[in-house]
């Protein structure tokens, strides 16, 4: 006798309809639409098959974040898959952001994975082009890039809103996802970055998480142009921040990780610090406080690679939560709509 859905009431919770005015059942979407300053955090994916490693990594971040990003082999380095991490996180009551990179999978795999992720309770997706395979741990791999981030956004939006695959085949229950994309305001071509952001919004992006912002004047210029284009009204922009470990690490990132711009004065400040770790944290807090004053910024996205232990202090000391409970935390501890 085969099991039916009624045999697993806990696992087979129905596919809920999004609240009115919402595109998904995502808690991140609820926070953003409620006008709260949102906090998301990047989870460092384990090189392990043990679920406990995912929960251990998520625990300190969930206390202060509304949603947790599961990276998809970022920097072309192999780790546990983002869909696997997301499935574990939803079971534990977190609100994950499922990152999809176009580097490793073609349109058949990606559209299928989107349905799989939605079925596992994932409600946020971040569409990325992905770094080239050459910078990763397996540079001989075949780069796929069947979609790019923008055509991927349009594909998922088509699945969600039209209820069909790109082939036109019908989807019985379309995936209700809150659509996100990345943006890198501080790298060239600076003058076209806001225009490309407009293209992402046109393709379907509803929230944006930017790459690291260390150059505030550049970011302010970007935001002012984005406001001129009316983008701050059409998309929630979360600025990417993260604590630097040391001047040496900052220099290494700048020259080895694609798309990272760190101005010299930031590196100088790290160099002169007696305790670089604390200075990196202080710098990050200052950046968050300055970023939140910029008109059109809806939140911050904290990427603290190997410095996850600092995330909760950074967010709490920056004061951006204003004492509210975040909704990324586990079920029963701050889950649901914030009332404050």
């Amino acid at each position: 006798m085969s099991p039916s859905s009624s045999d697993f009431p806990e696992l087979m919770r129905g596919y809920e309809t999004p609240p009115p005015g919402h595109v998904s059942g995502s808690r991140l979407e609820r926070v953003l639409r409620a006008g709260k300053f949102a906090v998301t955090a990047e989870l460092n994916p384990p090189d392990s098959a043990d679920p406990a490693d995912v929960f251990d990594a998520a625990q300190p971040l969930g206390e202060v974040a509304d949603a947790l990003n599961a990276t998809d082999a970022s920097g072309a380095n192999c780790h546990m898959s983002s869909i696997g991490i997301c499935a574990l996180l939803t079971r534990a009551g977190y609100d994950p952001v499922y990152q999809i990179s176009c580097r490793d999978r073609n349109r058949i795999a990606i559209q299928g994975d989107v349905l799989g992720a939605a079925a596992m309770g994932v409600r946020n997706v971040l569409c990325l082009t992905g770094d080239g395979v050459g910078v990763g741990d397996q540079p001989g791999a075949k780069p796929v890039f069947d979609f790019d981030s923008i055509s991927l956004l349009r594909a998922i939006r088509t699945m969600r809103d039209q209820g069909v695959f790109l082939s036109g085949r019908k989807i019985a229950r379309p995936p209700r996802m809150f659509l996100g994309a990345a943006e890198n305001p501080c790298v060239e071509p600076h003058q076209w970055r806001p225009d490309r952001l407009a293209k992402k919004v046109e393709a379907g992006a509803e929230f944006i998480q930017t790459n690291y912002i260390y150059d505030l004047p550049l970011f302010e210029k970007f935001m002012s142009r984005a406001r001129d284009l009316g983008l701050d009204k059409r998309v929630f922009i979360l600025a990417g921040v993260g604590p630097l470990a040391s001047a040496k690490a900052a220099r290494w990132m700048r020259s080895n990780v694609p798309g990272i711009h760190i101005p010299d004065h930031v590196i100088d400040r790290m160099e002169k610090a007696a305790k670089p770790g604390d200075e990196g944290k202080r710098l990050c807090i200052e950046l968050i406080q300055q970023i939140r004053e910029i008109k059109g910024v809806a939140g911050v996205h904290v990427m603290a690679y190997r410095r996850e232990h600092q995330v909760s202090e950074i967010i709490l000391e920056s004061g951006v939560l204003k004492g509210r409970a975040t909704v990324g935390g586990r079920r029963g501890r701050g889950a649901g709509v914030p009332t404050a």
């Binding site: 069947d146 790019d148 082939s167 060239e188 071509p189 225009d195 407009a198 790459n211 711009h261």
Partner: protein, 192 residues
């Protein structure tokens, strides 16, 4: 050739004019091609196209030419083959993340688009490449597609892909074709 590519972007406006004329010519020739059979002319036109565009744009014969929407900078030369670039990995000075000695194809594209009259087409979202059309003539495809568009625009709502990328379909019909493909234009290798 890399230098010819840079030249094409610098003179994007001139190439835009040439392309507009070529397109009009191809559309005018549609009845002729249809009479002879698109299937029969496919090979020879593709050969000429490969030669000309290979020299000027480092064309890779994707069969879904979007040059008029990409500032006359061929997106197939982007190592990630983005159709909506540039990515976030562009190096200082506008150089490619993957090939640091090459100018970013998409930085050039936005530059070229600025010089063109219809440069705003670059703001339209382009669909992913259909790999089954690789090696076939995009010129003939434009001829068929535009002619078909003129004949019956009502068919334009037929496929989902075309509905999902309506602007791209209008600007660069070969990127979201709807007219029946002659057997010669379809790469059977890729379909298998």
């Amino acid at each position: 050739m890399y230098r010819a590519r840079l030249f094409a972007v610098r003179h994007a406006r001139a190439f835009e004019c040439i392309y507009q004329r070529l397109e009009r010519l191809m559309v005018t020739l549609d009845p002729v091609f249809a009479r002879i059979g698109y299937n029969r002319v496919e090979r020879s036109v593709a050969l000429i196209e490969r030669g000309v565009k290979g020299l000027l744009f480092d064309c890779q014969m994707c069969g879904q030419c979007a040059l008029s929407s990409t500032g006359m900078s061929c997106p197939m030369n982007c190592p990630k083959q983005l159709r909506n670039g540039p990515c976030g990995g562009v190096r200082p000075g506008g150089y490619c993340e993957v090939k640091p000695s090459m100018k970013c194809v998409w930085c050039l594209a936005w530059e070229g688009a600025e010089r063109m009259e219809g440069g705003d087409k670059i703001r339209e979202v382009l669909p992913p490449v259909d790999h089954s059309l690789k090696g076939s003539s995009a010129w003939l495809r434009v001829s068929r597609e535009k002619a078909a568009q003129l004949r019956q625009s009502r068919d334009a709502a037929k496929t989902t892909l075309a509905q999902a990328f309506p602007g791209a379909r209008e600007n660069e019909p070969s990127t979201a074709p709807l007219a029946p493909e002659p057997p010669n234009a379809v790469n059977r290798e890729a379909q298998r």
